[in-house]
C-alpha cells in the first residue's frame, strides 16, 4: 500500500483514516460516523460511566431505537425490558449530548435506512455501528462495518477503532440483470457461490456493469448482506447515481462544501490495476430469482429448483448440517420450491424496507388479494419511507390486497419485538437471515426478494415472478 502504487477504494479510505500505525501491528483508525441503537449500547455507556470517561465527540454520533420497538400501539411499550432499553438510550444520549431520533419523530426507523436517507452516510467515510448490517452503508463507497459493544464503548471514548487491514476481494457482475432478477437475487446468488465464510477477513468490492446500473436502494441491498458472506464490509464505488441521491439531503454537505466534497469523492474509485487478493467474475445471465431452502443464507436455490438432497453434499459435516436444516425446515428433498406453501409474508428490514421495495411490491399486488390462508405484514424501514409510501397511495394498494401496514422498525427480521413466527410457521421474508429461531422459535424462513415475496403472498406458496401475470 505504498504511495504511488495503484490503490483500491478500500485502501484509499483506510489510508485516509489512519491515525497511527502502532508498533504492535495494529492500526488506530478514525471513525467519522458512529450510529447507535438501543440493544448494543447500554453496556457501552455503562462502561464509560464506570471509568468516568466522557463521549469524545458527541456530534459524530447519531442514535435511534429500532430493534426492540413495537410496530403497532407504540405510545406505551408494554414489554418492560424493551421499554427500559429504549428509555436507557434516550437517557444516555441526553446525558452525553448525542442526537437522538425519538420514537415519535418521523425520521425514526431502522438505523441503516435512516443513515442514507438523512444524508448522514457519505462516500469515503468510516462508519461503525453495533450491528452487523452496518455493511449496508458501503453502497455509498463508505467503509462501514459492525462492531461489538466493547468497541462501541471504544469509539464513544476515543472516536477511533483498533483494526488490522482487511484483504481486498472484488466481485464483478457483468451484463443486464435478466427479467425478474433483482439485486436481492444477485447477493443471494453470490452468497450461495462463495458460502457464509467465503468473505472472511475481506472487504468485498462489488463492481461490473450490473452493479453500476443499479439504484442506490438496490446497491444497499447488496452491501447489506455482505456480512452473510462473512465479509467485514461491502463497498461500491461512488458515482453520479450516488451523488444525485445525496444532494440536498438534510445531513449531506451543504452547498458551500458541495464542490469540495464532490472533488474528494471523485478520487475514491479503485485505480485501474489495483491489486485484489481474490477476484470473482459473474455473468448476470447465470442468475435466476433465488430462494433459501435451509437455515443458512448460503442455502440458496433457484426458484425453479428443488429442495436439495443431503447425499449430494461434498463433506460429511455439510451433509449433517443439510439434514439438520431440512428437519428444522420441515422439507423433503426433491420437493419443487414453487410447491412450498406459506403461512406468513414479511416485507421490510434494512435489506428491503426502502421506498423502492414498497413500490415494487405495490405494483405486483395492485388490484389483487393475498391468499386466504396467508398473513402478510409490511414494515416500512423508516417513518419517512412510510410517509412517502402514503403520499404515493401505496398503503391503500397494500392494505386493499390484505397486508397489515405497520410503523417503522426491525420487526420480524429478528423478532425482538412482538412480531414473531410461531413454531413451524413458514414465512417468505425479504430480510437477511434464515437462522434457526431467528424470526421466532421453530419459525421457518425463506429469504427472497420483495417481488418474489409479493407474488408468493398472492399465490399462497412460493411463486416465480416470471410466471406471474
Amino acid at each position: 500500500m505504498s504511495t504511488g502504487s495503484p490503490k483500491t477504494l478500500f485502501d484509499k479510505i483506510w489510508t485516509d483514516h489512519l491515525v497511527k500505525q502502532r508498533d504492535d501491528g495494529t492500526s488506530l483508525l478514525y471513525i467519522d460516523k458512529h450510529l447507535v441503537h438501543e440493544v448494543t449500547s447500554p453496556q457501552a455507556f455503562e462502561g464509560l460511566k464506570i471509568s468516568n470517561r466522557p463521549v469524545r465527540r458527541p456530534s459524530a454520533t447519531v442514535a435511534v431505537a429500532d430493534h426492540n420497538v413495537p410496530t403497532i400501539n407504540r405510545e406505551n411499550i408494554k414489554d418492560e425490558q424493551s421499554r427500559i432499553q429504549v428509555q436507557t438510550l434516550a437517557n444516555n444520549t441526553k446525558e452525553h449530548g448525542i442526537e437522538y431520533f425519538e420514537l415519535t419523530d418521523k425520521r425514526q426507523g431502522i438505523v441503516h435506512i435512516i443513515g442514507p436517507e438523512q444524508g448522514i452516510t457519505q462516500p469515503g467515510m468510516t462508519i461503525v455501528c453495533g450491528d452487523s448490517h452496518t455493511s449496508t452503508h458501503g453502497a455509498f463507497g463508505a467503509l462501514a462495518f459492525g462492531i461489538g459493544t466493547s468497541e462501541v464503548e471504544h469509539v464513544l471514548a476515543t472516536q477511533t477503532i483498533v483494526q488490522k487491514p482487511a484483504k481486498n476481494m472484488r466481485i464483478s457482475v457483468n451484463g443486464a440483470l435478466p427479467f425478474g432478477v433483482t439485486s436481492k437475487d444477485l447477493i443471494l446468488y453470490i452468497i450461495g457461490q462463495i458460502g457464509t465464510a467465503g468473505g472472511n477477513g475481506h472487504v468485498i468490492e462489488y463492481a461490473g456493469s450490473s452493479v453500476q446500473s443499479l439504484s442506490m436502494e438496490a446497491r444497499m441491498t447488496i452491501c447489506n448482506m455482505s456480512i452473510e458472506a462473512g465479509a467485514r464490509a461491502g463497498l461500491i464505488s461512488p458515482d453520479q447515481t450516488t451523488f444525485d441521491y445525496l444532494k440536498g439531503r438534510p445531513y449531506a454537505p451543504a452547498e458551500e462544501y458541495w464542490a469540495k466534497a464532490l472533488d474528494y469523492w471523485s478520487t475514491l474509485p479503485s485505480d485501474t490495476d489495483a491489486h485484489y487478493d481474490k477476484e470473482i467474475i459473474i455473468n448476470s445471465l447465470e442468475i435466476d430469482p433465488m430462494v433459501t431452502w435451509g437455515t443458512s443464507p448460503e442455502d440458496v436455490v433457484s426458484v425453479q429448483g428443488l429442495v436439495p438432497d443431503p447425499s449430494s453434499a461434498k463433506t460429511e459435516n455439510k451433509k449433517k448440517s443439510m439434514e439438520r436444516s431440512l428437519e428444522y425446515m420441515g422439507l423433503t428433498s426433491g420437493t419443487k420450491i414453487t410447491d412450498i406453501k406459506l403461512d406468513k409474508i414479511f416485507i421490510g428490514s434494512c435489506t428491503n424496507g426502502r421506498i423502492e421495495d414498497l413500490r415494487n411490491v405495490a405494483a405486483i399486488v395492485k388490484d389483487k388479494k393475498i391468499a386466504d390462508h396467508v398473513e402478510g405484514m409490511i414494515v416500512p424501514g423508516s417513518g419517512l419511507v412510510k410517509k412517502q409510501a402514503e403520499e404515493e397511495g401505496l398503503d391503500i394498494i397494500l392494505k386493499d390486497a390484505g397486508f397489515d401496514w405497520r410503523e417503522a422498525g426491525c420487526s420480524m427480521c429478528l423478532g425482538m419485538n412482538p412480531d414473531q413466527l410461531k413454531p413451524e410457521e413458514r414465512c417468505a421474508s425479504t430480510s437477511n437471515r434464515n437462522f434457526e429461531g431467528r424470526q421466532g422459535r421453530g419459525g421457518r424462513t425463506h429469504l427472497m426478494s420483495p417481488e418474489l415475496a409479493a407474488a408468493s403472498a398472492i399465490k399462497g406458496s412460493i411463486a416465480d415472478i416470471r410466471e406471474f401475470e
Partner: protein, 203 residues
C-alpha cells in the same frame, strides 16, 4: 478485563457448522442492559424445550460437559449478528476457550474483548480434537507456548502477537488508545482542512 494464560479440563464437542450468534444467545435475551447473567440462556433453543426444561441429551446438559471451560465447534463459529451477548453468555457459563477451523470476524474480535481465547486449527486437527473431546480426554491449553496438549499429543496454534499480549495481561483497549490522544487531535485538525463538511465542530 480478565487475563487468559492457561486452562485445563474436558472440552465439550459441538460438531455443528455455521453456529450463529442467534443460536448462541437468542434475541429475547438481548433486552438486558447488563453484561452478566446470560450463561443460563446460552444455546437456549438447543438446551431447553418449549416448557423451559433441560433437553437431556444436549451436550452442555450432560456431565462432565456441563462444567466445560472449552468448546470444540464446527466450521465458521459465531457467524451472523454482532451481538457481544454471545461471548458474554459463553463466558458467564464458564467457557473461555473455543476451538474451530474458522470464526466469523466480529465474533472473533469480541472474544478478545472479554478474555476468551478463540483457537483456529486445521480441519484434520479439528476432527482429531473433536473425537478426543467426545472421549472426555483432558485438554490443556497454554497461551504462552501457543499449544493444545491432549492424550500425549501437542498441537500448536497461531495468534497475533498483540492479541496474545492483551489476553496474557488482561489489558483494556481503551486505556491503551487514550495514550494516543495527541495523534487523534492532530488528525482531526488536519482533516478539518481536507474535509470541512465532516469536521464542522472541530476547532
Amino acid at each position: 478485563m480478565d487475563k487468559f494464560i492457561s486452562l485445563k479440563g474436558v472440552a465439550a464437542p459441538l460438531p455443528i457448522v455455521n453456529i450463529d450468534t442467534d443460536m448462541i444467545i437468542p434475541k429475547q435475551f438481548l433486552k438486558t442492559i447488563k453484561r452478566t447473567g446470560l450463561g443460563i440462556s446460552l444455546f437456549y433453543e438447543m438446551r431447553y424445550d418449549h416448557q423451559g426444561q433441560e433437553i437431556k441429551d444436549f451436550i452442555l446438559n450432560t456431565s462432565p460437559f456441563n462444567q466445560s471451560k472449552i468448546l470444540v465447534a464446527g466450521d465458521n463459529f459465531g457467524c451472523g449478528s454482532s451481538r457481544e451477548h454471545a461471548p458474554w453468555s459463553l463466558k458467564d457459563f464458564g467457557i473461555t476457550c473455543i476451538i474451530s477451523t474458522s470464526f466469523a470476524d466480529i465474533f472473533y474480535n469480541n472474544c478478545f474483548q472479554n478474555g476468551i481465547l478463540p483457537i483456529v486449527v486445521s480441519p484434520e486437527n479439528s476432527k482429531k480434537l473433536m473425537s478426543l473431546a467426545v472421549d472426555q480426554k483432558e485438554f490443556e491449553i497454554d497461551l504462552p507456548s501457543q499449544s493444545i496438549s491432549v492424550s500425549g499429543e501437542k498441537i500448536g496454534f497461531e495468534i497475533e502477537e498483540y492479541r496474545k499480549q492483551r489476553l496474557l495481561e488482561g489489558l483494556d483497549d481503551i486505556s491503551i488508545t487514550m495514550n494516543y490522544e495527541k495523534n487523534i487531535t492532530d488528525y482531526e485538525s488536519q482533516q478539518k482542512k481536507n474535509k470541512p463538511w465532516i469536521f464542522k465542530d472541530i476547532k
